[in-house]
């Protein structure tokens, strides 16, 4: 009888393990730009996200049509943000292009977004008239800014609008100490870790990064960065890789970084019309 109980207990525990769901992922850095639609059709892109265990995804697209298509197909899954590029080639020119503002205003009238980004902006360029006007638009519409920027540009954006809420893409490819310094300084700053591998190796979190994650567990998110259509096929691999290193953190911090922070920060922003 005791043996039978032991077998039953083992079986029960095993069944419990098998049913355990993989850690959900909030993917905070996806693009679905004009070059992606044909290569990864909407249905396939949605399927990739669901199969990867992505609970929600913050998606922008050069041309701004892609993420609207995704959003229409899966509003429970896709959170749209407005990218200030009509084509991806504007990465290095948009901040001096006056015509861009009319484009942003037009899109903001027609569609709903939680953020403006991801945009590339470095140093003093952040204080040019076009970025300033973009910040004003974000303020006017209550939107996040998703900035692929160095620390200098992040600080300039906060000077323009101290109450701004900024998602710092790739955390500026800065060292963890510098990232933590800015997180201490600005309570409305969050970080995505897209396209970085320096924070974890072989499933183990780097000590300096661990300190930042533990100190600011509610300020980090993960993201794939699908800057080419092909990289949509890396969403699943990236999610698995993220789960691997997140497992090296305390469970609460891991869950926050994996999905809760994204859900908390962005999930409630899309209010119905």
């Amino acid at each position: 009888m005791r043996a039978l109980l032991a077998v039953l207990l083992v079986s029960f525990t095993g069944a419990g393990d098998a049913q355990e769901q993989p850690l959900p992922i909030f993917d905070a850095h996806l693009h679905y730009s004009h070059d992606a639609w044909e290569m990864v059709p909407v249905e396939q892109a949605i399927d990739i996200l669901r199969k990867a265990g992505v609970k929600r995804a913050l998606v922008s697209s050069s041309g701004d049509e892609g993420q609207q298509r995704l959003y229409r197909a899966a509003p429970d899954l896709v959170i749209p943000e407005l990218r200030p590029y009509r084509s991806r080639g504007e990465i290095g020119t948009w901040f001096r292009d006056d015509t861009l503002i009319a484009h942003l205003e037009d899109r903001l009238k027609k569609y709903r977004y939680v953020s403006i980004g991801e945009f590339h902006l470095y140093g003093a360029d952040a204080d040019l008239p076009v970025p300033r006007r973009m910040v004003q638009l974000a303020r006017q519409h209550g939107l996040f800014l998703h900035a692929h920027s160095d620390a200098d540009a992040i600080e300039r954006l906060f000077r323009q609008w101290p109450q701004a809420r900024i998602l710092w893409a790739h955390a500026g490819f800065e060292r963890p100490e510098r990232v933590a310094e800015l997180l201490r300084k600005y309570g409305n700053l969050w970080c995505d870790l897209a396209f970085r591998t320096d924070h974890a190796s072989g499933g183990k979190v780097d000590p300096a990064w661990r300190a930042a994650f533990v100190q600011f567990p509610d300020r980090f998110m993960v993201g794939t960065d699908s800057y080419t259509p092909e990289r949509w096929h890396y969403v699943g691999g990236h999610a698995d890789w993220s789960r691997q290193w997140l497992a090296d953190l305390p469970k609460d911090a891991a869950e926050r970084i994996a999905w809760k922070n994204g859900e908390t920060v962005f999930g409630s922003l899309l209010q119905p019309h």
């Binding site: 290569m39 080639g89 396209f195 960065d225 800057y227 990289r231 096929h233 890396y234 691999g237």
Partner: protein
């Protein structure tokens, strides 16, 4: 009549046999002679597209009147044109002139012509000048040029392969390389894709053994110098790389048992000579040894010297004349390659490769809905392979050959990265890129000239920017790349 004939004979004999009869123009330089005059000329320097002056002296042979005027010109017989400038000839003294304003505006064979006049008659003396050019490479450029040699480099045996450099193993490997019965169906051999007369590749966009594969066939020439093997580096030794197509169902579709059976049935004698033991009972062990023999054979495939190597060595020795034989277009292309093109940042060293991997924006969809993840997936395969250098088949007791395998780790950027290929023999290995998507070298140069930045990560390699080459620059770069292949007479 008889007396006149004798006099002519005497004159001819004198001209041929008694040079003392010739006059001395009194100027050290290049000397030209006609029956009436001797001309000497010299210039400080004659180089392409640079104005120069000539100091000229002439004298009349005994019995002839001294020249009273001189005209100087130059032309290119093959191109049927002359100079773009009319030189001025100034008489300095009787029999001495200075011609100024000459300019030979392109490299090639020129004829310098001196027309001497005297009392209504004229003599035309010509000197052929092959004008080549060596660009004024800076010391920094020269250092970069030298870094692409010498060639061939010292050959070292592969410590992970006990058959490396063993003549009996090389002989066995050569037999196996051309043996169709090594493949599962008995119809495909290594040389099906690695065709000797096609520089040991196949000229196809994508390899086709038994079925079409996703990638272009790499040449195995110079493969012995690689660190990683294949387009994605999923193998860390030439012998492990030789196993891969044997087992791939699209290529040779064999099994360890099939390979071992083929070796036992057809090559047991050669095996014993190569490995100094009877063919073992373990099929996998036999297959790995077959791959090691194949690798030993492929190690003998080293590319020959190229026009670039001659140029590079001339630069090293400071031999301008020899260096000038290297075509000007290739030199200009070389300057782009090591300069504004930044090509040598990745394509560096004697093999013209850093041996690593890069994403240059080439699409990596293998088929609709399916990507070829390249280096990223390869690292996982490498680490899981029983045939990697960390495994039991590595013959290197020191373990140092496995350092790369021990430390390599996948990064996000590896997704869609492929080999930075060596460029030796590149003109003979079309088509190009991992998927054979670019048919010619001109297409490759155009690809980099018009590089699609939208496919590159904003924080990727900053050197990967469109080169925006002019048509002439693009042709120069192609000329340089073509000079990295051995010529037929080598």
């Amino acid at each position: 009549m008889e007396e006149r004939r004798n006099r002519l004979w005497l004159l001819a004999a004198a001209a041929l046999s008694f040079p003392a009869w010739a006059c001395d123009p009194g100027l050290e330089g290049t000397r030209l002679e006609s029956t009436r005059y001797v001309v000497a000329f010299r210039a400080a320097e004659i180089s392409v597209a640079k104005h120069f002056a000539l100091d000229i002296a002439a004298c009349a042979r005994p019995g002839h009147a001294p020249p009273d005027s001189l005209k100087v010109d130059a032309h290119m017989p093959q191109h049927r044109h002359g100079m773009n400038y009319a030189p001025a000839v100034k008489a300095l003294a009787p029999g001495r002139w200075r011609a100024e304003g000459l300019m030979l505006h392109m490299p090639g064979r020129w004829e310098l012509v001196f027309e001497l006049r005297s009392a209504g008659t004229s003599d035309r003396l010509a000197h052929t000048l092959v004008l080549s050019q060596v660009l004024d490479f800076s010391d920094e450029e020269k250092a970069q040029i030298l870094s692409h040699g010498p060639w061939p480099p010292p050959l070292e045996r592969d410590p992970s392969n006990r058959a490396s450099g063993n003549p009996a193993a090389i002989a066995l490997g050569e037999k196996l390389f051309f043996e169709p019965r090594l493949s599962g169906p008995g119809s495909v051999l290594c040389a099906t894709c690695h065709v000797p007369f096609r520089a040991f590749q196949d000229g196809r966009a994508r390899a086709f053994g038994l079925k079409e594969a996703d990638r272009n066939t790499l040449s195995v020439v110079d493969a012995r110098f690689y660190r990683w093997f294949g387009w994605d580096g999923a193998q860390d030794s030439l012998w492990a790389q030789s196993l891969r197509p044997l087992l791939d169902p699209r290529e040779m579709d064999a099994s360890p048992a099939h390979v071992a059976r083929t070796v036992r049935n057809l090559f047991s004698g050669s095996y014993e000579k190569a490995f100094a033991r009877p063919v073992p009972a373990d099929d996998e062990e036999v297959m790995v040894d077959a791959a090691k023999a194949l690798a030993a054979f492929q190690e003998t495939l080293v590319s020959g010297r190229t026009p670039f190597d001659d140029f590079r060595d001339s630069i090293k020795k400071g031999e301008a004349q020899a260096a000038s034989r290297y075509p000007l277009k290739a030199q200009k292309g070389l300057r782009i390659f090591i300069g504004k093109g930044h090509c040598s940042v990745c394509h560096f060293g004697p093999q013209f490769t850093n041996g690593e991997f890069a994403d240059t924006g080439v699409t990596f969809f293998a088929a609709p809905g399916r990507v070829d993840a390249g280096r990223h997936a390869a690292i996982a395969r490498l680490q899981g392979s029983p045939f990697n250098l960390l495994g039991r088949y590595n013959d290197d007791p020191s373990g140092s050959s496995a350092a790369g395998t021990r430390h390599v780790e996948a990064q996000h950027r590896n997704f869609g990265e492929f080999r930075v290929p060596g460029l030796r023999g590149v003109a003979t290995t079309a088509p190009y890129m991992h998927n054979g998507s670019l048919p010619t070298l001109r297409d490759v140069v155009k690809f980099y000239s018009e590089l699609n930045e939208e496919r590159l990560h904003a924080d990727g390699e900053k050197i990967l920017r469109p080169l925006h080459l002019s048509p002439e620059e693009a042709e120069d770069l192609v000329a340089f790349l073509e000079s990295l292949s051995p010529t037929a007479d080598r």
